[in-house]
């Protein structure tokens, strides 16, 4: 019985396997493979879904062939666990022989893949993770998302210039939160502002109540907030519950808290919050209107900043391939990406040739109601902002 089954299995396997092996090289020559590693499940899943959606949208719009080569995306879910990221990146590079690795929802994931990109000499396109150090960990890393330094320094400068003198800070206690806090503090205090209270909230924090009460009692003009996307909703609800909106303490911060993905669920408590960020679905350019409409039509909700980072990431890959005429040599591709400039739904952006990090406009936005929905409405622009986390050194 068992033997017969085994024999059948072996027979089937030996019939299929050569076919599989033979078929691989047949299309490997004229296909470019992109290993896309994203958190599709778990707490960061909204990041992964936005990026995946945006890439699908881009490929629907622009077709799936560049310079005569077919683009093939291999999507893997790492649930934002760096150990998974590393294993998946290894499999993609060794077994699937991908020409790019891309995605990376959180900083530790992007860092875990960095040595592999260096070793394999293939570009790692970071589409989400936001700490400064990432692009320094491998000469093959290029980033199309943002760094927290970009938005935090800008909001710091803006706050002192706009009559905010005393600020209490509430940031999540992990690398991006600490980055946001450091860069905000530098610029805000340099301009003459004063930090009256500094609270770091544990990442797995169930209840903001005591921290918010502390904020309220320190009577600042505004509170600077960075919590990972996803906690923003809870935060704003409790902010309103405690009556901080009525006591005149404004919310300022980098725009992650007010992600377009979550904004509508926050309710009117979010009205008036001022944040600095790279993208708002309400960005008033023709290109963005088209992008938002297409995204809404395809996926039923509006795109957030993660979606636009993914959209730009795949655009960068397409254009680099155009420039190299379809050659997939990693060094040539990175060379092609350096200094590349283009118009994105978020506005004009470019890749800094020295740091391979993104250079982009940072907008100051205020939450307002437009047609019955909440939007981050942009009212001031800081042009071509580089990552100050690196330029300082």
């Amino acid at each position: 019985m068992f033997n017969r089954r085994k024999m059948l299995l072996w027979g089937a396997a030996s019939a299929v396997l050569p076919g599989l092996c033979a078929s691989v090289p047949a299309w490997a020559d004229d296909a470019v493979k992109i290993g896309l590693i994203l958190p599709m499940t778990g707490g960061q899943a909204s990041t992964g879904k936005q990026i995946d959606n945006a890439i699908k949208l881009y490929m629907q719009q622009k077709g799936d062939t560049v310079a005569g080569k077919k683009i093939e995306i291999i999507l893997k879910d790492d649930a934002a666990v760096p150990d998974n990221t590393k294993r998946l990146a290894q499999e993609l590079i060794v077994n699937d022989k991908v020409n790019f690795i891309a995605g990376f929802g959180v900083t530790p994931a992007a860092l875990a893949a960095a040595p592999l990109a260096t070793q394999a000499k293939i570009p790692e396109v970071v589409m989400a993770a936001g700490t400064s150090i990432i692009t320094e960990r491998s000469p093959y890393i290029v980033r199309t998302s943002f760094t927290l330094a970009q938005s935090s320094t800008i909001i710091g400068d803006w706050a002192v210039k706009n009559g905010i003198k005393k600020v209490a800070t509430l940031t999540s206690d992990y690398a991006p939160g600490n980055d946001a806090l450091t860069f905000f503090k530098q610029h805000f205090t340099a301009g003459g502002g004063e930090i009256v209270e500094e609270v770091k909230v544990p990442l797995a924090n169930p209840d903001f109540a005591p921290f918010l009460q502390r904020m309220k009692d320190s009577k600042p003009d505004a509170m600077f907030v960075f919590v990972p996307a996803g906690q923003g909703g809870n935060f704003m609800k409790q902010y309103a519950e405690r009556g901080l909106d009525k006591s005149g303490i404004r919310v300022i911060g980098p725009g992650d808290v007010m992600d377009d993905d979550l904004l509508n669920n926050m309710g009117d408590a979010a009205l008036g919050a001022v944040t600095a960020h790279l993208y708002s679905a309400a960005h008033p350019s023709a290109m963005n209107k088209e992008f938002v409409a297409a995204y809404k039509k395809a996926f039923g909700n509006r795109p957030g900043f993660m979606a636009v980072s993914g959209y730009d990431g795949i655009h960068l890959i397409y254009d680099a391939l155009k420039k190299t005429n379809g050659a997939t040599d990693g060094d040539k591709l990175i060379e092609a990406m350096k200094g590349m400039k283009w118009e994105s739904p978020r506005g004009p952006i470019s890749i800094d040739p020295e740091t391979r990090d993104i250079v982009q406009n940072i907008y100051i936005r205020k939450v307002e109601k437009v047609d019955g929905e909440l939007y981050n409405v942009e009212f001031a622009t800081f042009e071509a902002v580089k990552d100050s986390g690196k330029t300082k050194r």
């Binding site: 778990g42 899943a45 169930p206 005591p210 009460q213 996803g230 809870n234 309103a240």
Partner: protein, 289 residues
């Protein structure tokens, strides 16, 4: 002064919430001697039932709460009849492995069906904001939690101590064989108790969505809190976990307010100190049974 009282109130509300979430576990673990680590999954079920009813079907919030209880209780009784009852006589290790497996399955299932982003339950306007009581800010929502949980505790205590069902349950737990001899339908009593515990968890889940946040990882994230409450309170009564929840809630909130740098560790420190002092929990009887 006002902020001390506000903090105290927040702590009480937080503690009450922990109690409703955890007391079902105190019942299964303490009274039925069954290690059910999947308790949080029933809480999550209640939360999502309430969220779907209120957000998608337009039910009022106060109708959603009892249905969260009923829904989780029904799921509880279905699982008890099909799966759990086979494990009553098995070792604690088997029970732990089985129930933690259920947790992972529930996380994956909810992630698949409901998506992984955080869900908020639409609250009636009357529950938003704070009431100013002699300068002390009292959150309306938290006040509601205190009232509901307070009444619930009283009812539970009465059921266990004063009703016929309470004495049957205690008999069934202490000596199932003698209880059967006396004509008590032990499996039925257990099934009902289990379902009731799950219902409480579901109600707690629905109440906590606003404060703790509701996502598919809920059972994993808060399992540790439920276990702390039951361990510190001792698992042989309802008053133990109740006082433990209050103590932990107040200590947690105060710790986060006064020493934010140590904030998250205060709850663990309190637990360690209490367990050093009373290894079976505040009101525990000796573990031997």
């Amino acid at each position: 002064m006002a902020s001390i009282l506000t903090n105290f109130f927040d702590g009480v509300a937080y503690g009450m919430l922990l109690f409703v979430l955890a007391c079902g576990l105190a019942v299964t673990l303490g009274l039925m001697n069954f290690v059910n680590l999947a308790h949080g999954a029933f809480a999550m079920a209640g939360g999502y039932i309430c969220a779907v009813l209120v957000n998608n079907s337009g039910w009022p919030f106060f109708a959603g709460l009892p249905l969260a209880f009923v829904g989780s209780a029904v799921i509880g009784i279905a699982l008890e009849r099909t799966l759990y009852r086979h494990l009553y006589s098995r070792s604690h290790l088997d029970q732990v492995l089985f129930s933690i497996g259920l947790v992972f399955m529930s996380v994956a299932a909810v992630d698949y069906i409901m998506g992984s982003s955080r869900v908020f339950i639409k609250l009636p306007v009357a529950l938003e904001g704070q009431i100013d009581l002699f300068g002390v800010g009292i959150g309306r929502y938290r006040l509601m939690i205190v009232v509901i949980c307070g009444l619930l505790t009283l009812a539970l205590q009465l059921i266990l101590a004063k009703t016929r069902f309470g004495s049957r349950l205690r008999a069934a737990v202490d000596d199932p064989r003698a209880a059967i001899g006396l004509g008590i339908n032990v499996p039925q009593v257990f099934a009902f108790t289990f379902a009731f515990g799950c219902g409480l968890a579901g109600l707690g889940g629905a109440l906590s969505a606003e404060i703790l946040g509701l996502d598919p990882y809920f059972p994993l994230k808060f399992m540790i809190y439920f276990l702390i409450v039951v361990t510190v309170g001792g698992s042989s009564s309802i008053t133990g976990p109740f006082l433990a929840s209050l103590l932990l809630g107040i200590a947690d909130v105060a710790g986060k307010y006064y020493v934010p740098k140590l904030g998250p560790f205060v709850i663990y420190t309190v637990m360690i100190v209490i367990l050093l002092w009373r290894p079976n929990g505040l009101f525990g009887r000796t573990a031997a049974r």
